[in-house]
Amino acid sequence: MAKRDRLSGNEAIAIALRQINPDVFPAFPITPSTEIPQYFASFVANGQVDTEFIPVESEHSSMSAAIGASAAGARSLTATSSCGLAYMWEELYIAASNRLPLALALVNRALSGPININCDHSDSMGARDAGWIQMYAENNQEAYDNMVQAYRIAEHKDVRLPIMICQDGFITSHAVENMELLEDEEVKNFVGEYEPENYLLNPDCPMAVGPYSITDYYMEAKRNQAEGMKHVEKVVLEVAEEFAKLSGREYGLFEAYRLEDAEYAVVMIGSAAGTTKDAIDKLREQGEKVGLLKIRLYRPFPAEAIAKALQGVKAVAVMDRAEGYTNHGGPLGADVMAALYRARSQALAVNYIYGLGGRDVRVEDMEGIFATLKQIAADGDAGETYRYLGIRE
């Protein structure tokens, strides 16, 4: 039986974690993710979970401890933001290459500098090639739902990879919104007990984790790791289907909003997708054929499915909440455009950098994007494909 509630994104994640009751949670605080371990620590203190909560001295240590715990056979996770994620960098690759299905609750925040504490995706975008599964949320409900589904995906025997559950710093993490919670028992049954196949604390099968891999093996090891990623899309969809039966809320690799007959489309990640939906509804009332493709699963990147969903559009704007400093756009732009190219798409595509360091995105901004797309289609020319939204010139 679902329970109506109003919670901030951080509270929602903390409650999902209480319901999951993981084995080990090492953490070091950083704005705006601090509240997650803070709420969780109170659950530990109140005896509502059995989790071993470890206050560590840095994010490098929190990720290392989560890795060690996962290798030992525990269900582990940590939470962080921005520079905290950057400080975990080398450990992220270790977690993925050791095929450890731990989780990271990431609250997206700009990387310094200049120093800024507000939302953009530069932290997780930088970690996109670390071998982690990355999932993003539009709102608090999605952050909660993704967290509940996370371990089922990460621990699946065909996957066994770490998973990053991302939400927008402050915009959702500190905003109270309506949402529906599942009952504790429902989450417990859905997530299930973790039964690792190989783990360090198994006396029946001693083992070594993270051995040196000389040149003769390294490429084969990386190819072996890629095999896990190849199964992620299938598993994400299977888990989503089961989750829909439980919650009534449906998830895919991405959300296509009013996209079926759209001529102009926006592709984006995160909270601004909600704002874009309001712009779309307004424009649809005026007869404009506009739609949205909101990425949920960013790593691995479901390129074929995305290209297929965009096959009818005349013009598309790919929105990056992170710079790539390639001189031609951000990471999502590169991924979507490559997908369109491989699918021999004829769509005119532009790539916007937007919302950096918490810069607000309004319904009017998104209406402006659609107006630009309409003009691009009329001109038959995308013009400059690398653009900044709302920049003061």
């Binding site: 504490i117 402050f170 959702t172 500190h174 905003a175 109270v176 704002t275 939906k277 607000d360 319904v363």
Partner: protein, 190 residues
């Protein structure tokens, strides 16, 4: 979207504008509404001007931007009347609620020609009289509920008692003071 109410709070870091916005979201939620309550963070220090927002609607709220054209503005600290453009985008058919001990006539000249309704509450007086300490957000919460007609007073007081009983479970002695502050503020708002 016609039933959407948008409220903007102006306060200073440490005065509880964010808390007040979250409390308002809380109480509106209890009456079955869709709500949003969120802060806009600037420099993280006591005394810096901060903004918080509320959206209250009968339908799901998807927009995640700040609020530029609110129906209502609450000014938690009247020194902000000079420092911040508090009436920016404020709708004429809405209202501004200012926390001040001064009469309305002295406030209006500072509102840059705002033509809508101007309301005041002396949250300091209410807070000191009922709680013995200065907590402006409890009286301001009651005042904005009345000014923006978010719900009837009886429902509001009932929901707030339940909310305080939960929030202050470990120190029930403060519940009566807070309730008295709400009741007095409902009468004192002008």
């Amino acid at each position: 979207m016609s039933n959407l109410t948008e409220i903007r709070w102006h306060g200073r870091g440490g005065q509880g504008a964010k808390t007040a916005a979250l409390l308002l979201a809380d109480v509106a939620f209890q009456t079955g509404k869709y709500v949003q309550g969120f802060p806009e963070y600037g420099p993280e220090r006591m005394g810096a001007p901060i903004t918080a927002y509320n959206r209250i609607s009968d339908t799901q709220i998807r927009v995640h931007s700040n609020i530029y054209d609110p129906q209502y503005v609450v000014v938690v600290d009247e020194s902000l009347l000079e420092a911040v453009d508090v009436t920016s985008g404020l709708k004429k058919d809405g209202a501004i609620l200012v926390n001040t001990s001064r009469p309305k006539e002295e406030i209006i000249p500072h509102l840059k020609g705002y033509e809508g309704k101007v309301c005041t509450i002396d949250a300091h007086k209410v807070s000191m009289a009922t709680m013995g300490r200065y907590f402006p957000n409890t009286p301001l919460l009651a005042a904005i509920v009345k000014v923006a007609d978010i719900m009837d007073e009886e429902t509001f007081l009932r929901e707030m008692r339940a909310s305080f009983s939960h929030k202050f479970a470990s120190k029930p002695e403060v519940i009566d003071g807070n309730m008295a502050a709400l009741k007095m503020a409902l009468k004192e708002v002008r």
